[in-house]
């Protein structure tokens, strides 16, 4: 098994090192790193803006670039939270707790250095996991019939909507809205137009780019306009030579790094628990097993190393269910799957065998991209720190232009720009009512395949709805769904003490 994996990986490096793929990967991580540093721009908005631009390039290059934005942004986000105490990206909120005190003590550079090392360790572990785990998952998943696929998707949707931030009920409501948006357009089997309100532009369905840019572009801008205060750049004078951690700091970080990595990779396997939850759990664990828990929050280097390692191992691990089962764990993964589907590639367990260039190329590009990021981050730290000072008032109007032209270019149709504006406005109203829009995208991407498999399963079982419990594998998934719901109700009724005590203030937002 190891030898086949290595041969495949070798092939993957061949794909990823082709000059144009290498170029797209580089552009991806560069843009990702940049938006990660910029306060107020997230990887979601950036990936959706870049999505229309990838229609013209080959699928491999497109996926390498979009994934590069995602993990590149994680490197950049750490800079922002350590030097400015701004948790602009949720996974790095925990890093602020110890990162910023370190900066105040004048060890911000060392904290960044440790971040780069632990990110690389975490990411490497995540990639290795992907190499060995994905083929195993695929061999199991290829035996699935429509009933199994259907209940697996149900599990994915439930986990994605209830384990993420905010109220689980509202998460489920958002997933349902996403599924409904996915229905708009012609029915796949009979061709009946559904929920189109007689508008011909809607017969092909709602555009994924319009949804993503409305919810994560326009709605986000409306939320943050005039809300971001002028950043305090007092501590941002970090030079290349400051990045070197002392021997003692390095020694203390190793253990934290490995524990963080393991926690992150475990979290990645459960859909819905992305990097944010992983970083939080690993910080809480590290605090618990530390000999000096009271010093956490005053600038402990362990408190920087472990959440960063777990963020990165979880970010890479998130790709495992997405690529091998076709079931995304969060909104970013849903967008990347959406990009694959736009390129005409059907996601699911057959992806690895039918398009080995995409899968293995992606895996190999992770290594290459992570090395590029280390190279980009270490000597150019001064430049990234300068980026922090770009004010939001220049940022969002420019981003709005990219939103408009990006949506327009998907079909050369102004109607879609209008669609985006309306989705953005509705998205903002939903944000005001405490809904988190990320599950919408999950539902939207999985919706059509979910309906198709549901119909097929019912046809094969001759209309017997109990088919989902009669098949053993499917029954396990349904059982897990029930467990998830019961668990959520239990947690709601009596919140466990650990969560309530350890929840850092930044996460409560």
């Amino acid at each position: 098994m190891i030898s086949t994996a290595l041969t495949d990986l070798w092939y993957g490096f061949g794909v990823a090192l082709e000059p144009h793929n290498l170029m797209w990967c580089f552009i991806g991580v560069l843009v990702g790193n940049m938006v990660g540093v910029l306060p107020g721009m997230g990887p979601l908005a950036t990936i959706s803006i870049l999505l229309p631009l990838t229609f013209g390039i080959k699928p491999v290059g497109a996926i390498l670039m979009l994934s590069g934005v995602f993990y590149g942004a994680q490197y950049g986000g750490a800079i922002c939270s350590i030097l400015l105490n701004l948790p602009c990206h949720p996974p790095h909120a925990v890093t602020c707790l110890d990162g910023f005190p370190l900066t105040k003590k004048g060890r911000g550079g060392a904290a960044l250095g440790i971040t780069v090392i632990s990110s690389f360790v975490g990411a490497s572990w995540g990639i290795t996991e992907m190499i060995f785990l994905s083929p195993v998952l695929v061999t199991v998943a290829l035996k699935f019939g429509p009933a199994e696929i259907c209940s697996l998707m149900l599990l994915g949707l439930l986990a994605g909507s209830t384990l993420a931030r905010g109220s689980p009920l509202k998460g489920v409501a958002m997933t349902l809205c996403g599924l409904l948006l996915g229905i708009v357009g012609s029915d796949i089997e009979t061709g009946t137009p559904r929920f189109t309100f007689g508008i011909p532009n809607l017969f092909d369905g709602v555009e994924i780019v319009a949804i993503a840019l409305g919810l994560f572009g326009i709605a986000e801008f409306m939320k943050s306009v005039n809300q971001l205060s002028e950043v305090d750049t007092k501590y941002t004078n970090v030079k290349f030579k400051d990045l070197r951690p002392t021997k003692d700091e390095l020694r203390r970080s190793w253990g934290a790094m490995f524990r963080g990595t393991i926690i992150g990779s475990l979290c990645a396997l459960i859909p819905g628990t992305g990097p944010t939850i992983a970083s939080f759990i690993s910080y809480a664990t590290e605090k618990k097993i530390s000999k000096t828990p009271e010093l956490f929050g005053t600038g402990m280097i362990e408190g920087v190393a472990c959440p960063e390692a777990s963020t990165h191992s979880s970010v890479q691990g998130d790709f495992i269910p997405t690529m091998s089962l076709g079931i995304p764990g969060d909104a970013v993964m849903a967008l990347i799957l959406g990009a694959l589907m736009i390129q005409g590639i059907v996601p699911g367990p057959q992806l690895i065998s039918e398009h080995p260039d995409i899968f293995w190329g992606l895996v190999a590009s992770f290594w290459i991209g992570n090395i590029m990021l280390v190279v980009l981050n270490v000597p150019m730290i001064g430049l990234w720190v300068k980026l922090l000072t770009i004010p939001y008032r220049y940022l969002y109007p420019s981003a709005l232009f990219f939103v408009c032209i990006g949506v327009y270019s998907t079909n050369n149709d102004m109607f879609q720009v209008g669609e985006t504006i309306i989705i953005g406005l509705v998205g903002y109203l939903l944000l005001l009512l405490d809904f988190h829009p990320a599950p919408v995208l999950l539902g939207f991407v999985l919706g059509p395949r979910f309906e198709e498999n549901f119909r097929r399963a019912m046809l094969i079982s001759r209309g017997d709805a109990l088919v989902f419990i009669k098949h053993p594998i499917s029954a396990v998934f349904v059982g897990l769904c029930v467990l998830l719901i019961v668990g959520q109700i239990y947690v709601r009724l009596r919140p466990p003490k650990v969560l309530a005590e350890n929840l850092p203030p930044v996460m409560a937002e």
Partner: protein
């Protein structure tokens, strides 16, 4: 009782979801639902609509059960009417200007108007930012990416 209810987010959240669910359920009846074995186009939306109504009622229920938090507001504390308006007006102008005058005008007005939404920006700074984005933006999309969207047109 009813007075405090009107200040709760969950009251509106639950209400909207219930209405949406009910609307979808009613609308899906106008399509052929078919049987469980041979589902028509209306079956799946029907199931979703019923579930959404149920979830909406549950959210509504939490609004009644939970006490009102002291600082619970529907609108955020700082009301940025101008900012919100400008962010929405930018893309709207992009559509109108793009339809009648072409990409250059669309880009400029989109950036210019949305930039006015920030409290610190002035007419001059917004116009400068507009120009600063329009020129490279149009070069990129029109010449490099060859987007079929004329730079200038007179489309009445």
């Amino acid at each position: 009782m009813f007075d405090t209810l009107l200040h709760k987010r969950d009251f509106y959240a639950g209400g909207i979801m219930t209405l949406l669910g009910a609307g979808v359920t009613l609308n899906s009846m106008s399509y052929n639902t078919g049987t469980l074995m041979h589902m028509g186009p209306g079956m799946f939306p029907f199931i979703l609509g019923v579930t959404l109504t149920f979830i909406g009622v549950l959210i509504f229920g939490t609004a009644i059960v939970t006490p009102l938090e002291p600082d619970e507001h529907i609108l955020p504390r700082n009301k940025e009417w101008l900012g919100w308006f400008c962010i929405l007006a930018g893309p709207v102008l992009f559509i109108i200007m793009g339809h009648f005058f072409g990409m250059a005008a669309a880009t400029f007005f989109c950036v210019f108007v949305s930039a006015l939404g920030d409290r610190q920006s002035t007419w001059k700074s917004s116009a400068l930012l507009g120009l600063f984005i329009t020129i490279p933006g149009c070069l990129l999309f029109s010449y490099v990416l060859q987007l079929p969207f004329p730079l200038f047109r007179w489309g009445f």
